[in-house]
Symmetry: C2
Subunit: 417 residues, 2 copies
């Protein structure tokens, strides 16, 4: 028999552990041992792995509890692999593949977002290089990508694991805040800043809060359309003629017509060259407050929106596990360098099927919210967007509580002893 290894990387979501659980579930009879590398490709590089098969055997209900544990059971990293085709000066690939051979790992699963799919594509490419160099018939390792990101901005997939749960958190919190902000009969504005640097999917999901009674958020601004503060202020002024409580959903990444972020940005960038942002919500709060002199506050949903397991979408968790199980089938077929993906067949009834695409294709492109999902004025989403989004937040997880709090798996293995 052969072994497998899994690592997770990128930012956390409520659903990424469900994909890990899916691989374990489908792989338990196919591998002697399924290893987990701690802290992504760094754990692989540093030979820091745990035996997930042993956890599976020793802990009751391990797979179910893993599905309902947020963030990353195996930890993450922000490490960018070099190009395997150009050179391997650091010996990184050599070291990794020697270690995988030592562990008898034939299938490698990489769960993560676009940077992680970049790692998956590079590891797959190096596996091909090794095969060709040896003139072998088979690959030393088959590398399969499994996507996740609350941003929903990967290409070649209908929607990404983690997005539905974050969307449910955003829409539910928006609904609850709409109740909260409706209690005073005075003109007020509540600006809610939602995650999404380049794509406004999660901010768009705030529209799902609307029902026959609640019309909030009345304004929705996404990074896909240039933002005009003057037009925003005018929209609020008009809304206040008929509505006391105006709620605005705003993506952290909104930009003006010249491409400048509407934010108190500090102009620093992370290792992948992404600009660090803060403060689109605050920027609106100050500008609208100054212009209209009304009661105003801004709320940044911040990290709870991506790790809110207690409000996860059952659809999301089930699909995330399904993508993990599908990845095991893909490895069996030797689909090296491919990513487990999902295709939508219909909105209503909601039907999907699992499929695959090259990991490299998901690595660097960003899938924006299409223009016809946004209204002409650029301050709301269309019915088409709502039809796309609605199925993704359906269903609630059956989370166990212990002593009043969600009962998650221990992540002691992530901490220094």
């Amino acid at each position: 028999m052969k072994n497998a290894l899994i690592f997770q990387s990128g930012g956390p979501t409520a659903a990424i552990n469900a994909s890990l659980a899916g691989v374990l579930d489908a792989g338990r009879d196919k591998y002697d041992i399924i290893y987990g590398a701690i802290n992504g490709v760094v754990g692989l590089k540093e030979k820091n792995v745990i035996d997930l098969t042993a956890k599976l055997k020793s802990e009751d209900g391990f797979i179910n509890r893993l599905c309902l544990t947020p963030a990353m059971y195996l930890g993450s990293c922000r490490f960018k692999l070099p190009d395997p085709a150009v050179s391997d000066t650091a010996g990184i690939f050599t070291g990794i593949f020697e270690y995988l051979e030592e562990l008898n790992v034939k299938d490698l699963y990489v769960i993560g977002g676009n940077d992680s799919m970049d790692s998956a594509a590079k590891l797959a490419e190096y596996s091909e290089i090794l095969k060709n160099a040896a003139g072998a018939d088979t690959l030393p390792v088959t590398v399969i990508g499994i996507p996740k990101t609350i941003d929903n901005d990967l290409v070649n997939i209908d929607h990404t694991p983690g997005f539905g749960s974050a969307a449910k958190y955003v829409a539910s919190s928006m609904l609850e805040m709409a109740y909260d902000t409706s209690i005073y009969p005075v003109k007020s504005v509540t600006v809610v800043e939602i995650m999404g640097r380049d794509a406004g999917w999660l901010t768009a999901a705030s529209a799902l809060a609307r029902n026959s009674c609640i019309h909030a958020p009345q304004l929705i601004y996404l990074p896909e359309v240039p933002f005009s503060m003057d037009e925003c202020i005018e929209s609020v002024r008009k809304l206040h003629e008929t509505t006391n409580s105006v709620m605005i959903a705003v993506s952290e990444g909104i930009r003006d017509k010249d491409g400048n972020y509407i934010a108190a940005s500090d102009n620093t960038t992370d290792k992948f060259g992404h600009q660090q942002l803060s403060g689109a919500g605050k920027a609106l709060e100050y500008a609208i407050g100054d212009a209209l002199g009304v009661k105003i506050r801004s709320v940044e949903l911040n990290i709870p929106q991506r790790c809110g397991m207690h409000l996860a979408s059952l659809t999301d968790i089930e699909e995330s596990a399904g993508l993990g199980r599908h990845a095991v089938e893909m490895a069996e077929k030797g689909l090296n360098g491919q990513m487990s993906s999902i295709r939508r067949i219909s909105d209503d009834p909601y039907q999907t099927e699992y499929t695959e695409c090259p990991s490299s294709s998901a690595a660097n492109d960003v899938r924006s919210v299409p223009r016809d999902f946004i209204n002409e004025s650029g301050n709301d989403v269309t019915e088409k967007a709502v039809k796309y989004l609605r199925p993704l937040i359906q269903g609630e997880v059956n989370l166990t509580y212990n002593n009043g709090l969600p009962d998650f798996l221990s992540i002691k293995h992530l901490f220094k002893s």
Copy 2:
């Protein structure tokens, strides 16, 4: 038969509608009509009331759904009644009591925090004044207070409705964020700002997130103890010797030894003379980040913590309804000017009983976290605090979801037509 009237005021909580439901449940057979005044005492002044008895009869499961609808079904106000004993120049009390007589209202229920208990006490006092002036044997109206506040800072009550649910939200979110912030093997700090202007009860509840695996938040700062930024920075530096992810729970109202708020305060005050605050979390983020040069972010839990019905404490919701039902018994006994209260008999097993105290006593005093609930260094809570807090977050509500979102009662009656 006679009628009753209820109003709500002050800030929203997840539990205040459960107290309204409790009054309706116990009062449905005692009154012909139970009215609800829209937007607190302002609705009473302006004769803006709805017939809750009709709602009860026409909407299936109205009481249960009301218990699980956050914020304020009847809306709120921030209106301070004048002193009824000094003068009634505005005719406010005269107008209100004439209207109550017109409606045949004999019992008036006021649900709210300390400012609302002030209103309840003044209305009760005016009722006595009217009785004495008329030389009557009975009061025109019996006024009963029903407490609520997520701040848990009312006196003469073991804990306040709404606090347990907010505490459960804070502790659960802290636990989920602890998972989120543990994924990278790098030194980081996450500052979580929690509501609580003068009392640190809600911030103290963040300690409930701790278990055998999660030690976050490692530092807890309450307004009850002077805050020293230097000591805080030194504590973080020491923690980073053994721990990568340090979480700090900080109350919005922390002050230095001279009583100055640790915040980017704009020095404005609300109508009740409370200073408006923002930014204790940000203040720590900037100071610790500058001093230690580590990855740092601050999260303000903001309004979701007080309206997060989806994460309400069943204990809190049941007790809030119980306080409403007890208030109806109090009205029957003619306990004018009294507030429905709760007394703890034991922590383990958790046992309480309903009791009463003067509304006026709860009106103006603030109940701080006792010194022996806080450790000597002033940067954590003690086991005594945890024993007090733990029972209050027990149990989960059985919220119905519709189309992926919590299914709350419509609050159309709060909106302008």
